[in-house]
Symmetry: C2
């Protein structure tokens, strides 16, 4: 298996048909040769090409489970050779993890605007804006937590990181950011609450078993009891 002579007969392959399965998702700034008479190979700046492939992969991974999306599918969707996907993202898994990382960022949750008011008011406002942000961005973020078993360290780390980020913002909104006693426990409880919030939002937006008002009441009352009872008990 050492240095075996690679037989290479490029020109003999059956299909120079160049059917060029057209790119379905193009990057904003890129003009993909309009008439069909353009150059066979469109040579883009690495950033643009990478972003284009990423966009296609994101769409495909949102529709179908990981293993049902082949690298060939992604390449075809981007109108590009399969090898290019590996060139930019190493392997299929790397591309997938990058998509998940982007999708797992908490939708803004503009905390900056609510430092005033009583605790109950801040809780209410936080829940309100959380639901608001979710309603705008649609359910792509919510679809995350439903995977199976089989601990995947990389994937888990990404999700935990995103969760910690949202917890940090939530602490800030609750005015608990400056605490020092039992920091770790407080954050743990907030992570737990984050799961409830995600699940509650899912019942409302995805499964539609709760009205928005009911979801709001559920999320705010539980957050209230956690902040007022469970956390002080630490």
């Amino acid at each position: 298996m050492a240095a075996l002579a690679l037989r290479r007969d490029h020109a003999v392959n059956a299909a120079p048909v160049r059917l060029r399965t057209d790119p379905e998702t193009e990057v904003p700034g890129v003009e993909l040769s309009g008439g069909g008479t353009g150059p066979r190979r469109q040579r883009l700046a690495p950033d643009q090409r990478r972003q284009q492939i990423f966009a296609c992969a994101q769409r495909l991974f949102n529709d179908r489970p990981y293993e049902d999306v082949s690298a060939t599918d992604i390449a075809a969707a981007a109108g590009v050779a399969r090898g290019l996907v590996n060139h930019y993202f190493g392997n299929k898994r790397g591309l997938y993890l990058e998509v998940v990382r982007l999708n797992s960022t908490v939708p803004e949750m503009a905390v900056a605007g609510l430092p005033e008011g009583s605790l109950d008011q801040r809780i209410d406002a936080s829940v309100h804006w959380f639901l608001e942000a979710l309603e705008r961005t649609g359910g792509t973020w919510l679809a995350l937590g439903s995977g199976g078993m089989g601990r995947d360290p990389d994937l888990e780390r990404i999700l935990v990181e995103a969760e910690n980020d949202s917890v940090e913002r939530l602490l800030e909104a609750m005015g608990l950011a400056g605490r020092h006693t039992g920091q770790e426990e407080v954050r743990a409880m907030m992570r737990v609450y984050a799961q409830l919030a995600r699940s509650g939002a899912r019942e409302w937006l995805l499964r539609k078993t709760l009205t928005r008002a009911q979801a709001h009441a559920l999320l705010s009352s539980t957050l209230r009891v956690i902040v007022k009872e469970a956390i002080p008990a630490i």
Copy 2:
């Protein structure tokens, strides 16, 4: 692209050595030929063989993510030809789903014993027994909720079914089983709580960021506020 001839030289492969990677997990009742001089093929009753393969698959799927466990690995762990795995479970996915289904059953949570006492007492006892059952069975059940995106209908259905089951027991324990108004909403809220309970238990048992007492306080206080405030508001 039709039937391109993949050059294949199977019979020339190096090892008919019959190294017989020994079965690592055996079924209780099965005596696997002790000396090494036993028959090359151990012929078992279908149920036993099936259970043995299942046990190996369960162990492997608990350690590594789905795609990192090949059917060859499972077969090797069971000391069996790879084809036999497909023979018993159809395909790798079927085996995986069966493992998930078993692992996702809620650990007993013996509800039968606590119909007496006030609501607060029942809540406290339920949480207590939930944590108790989890502590005994170890973290295999907890590892479930951490998967990625990519909605898999079958997998999701299994998890939802298990969740509904646990919700039903929880409703029974809370004395809410007989309700008729807003059944769907009550169940939805209980599903949301189930996510919180799972997450809280994970912080305690897996990540060890909460003490058992803290987890207990968190789970019971949130359950209390849901049953007493959010549900009556429906």
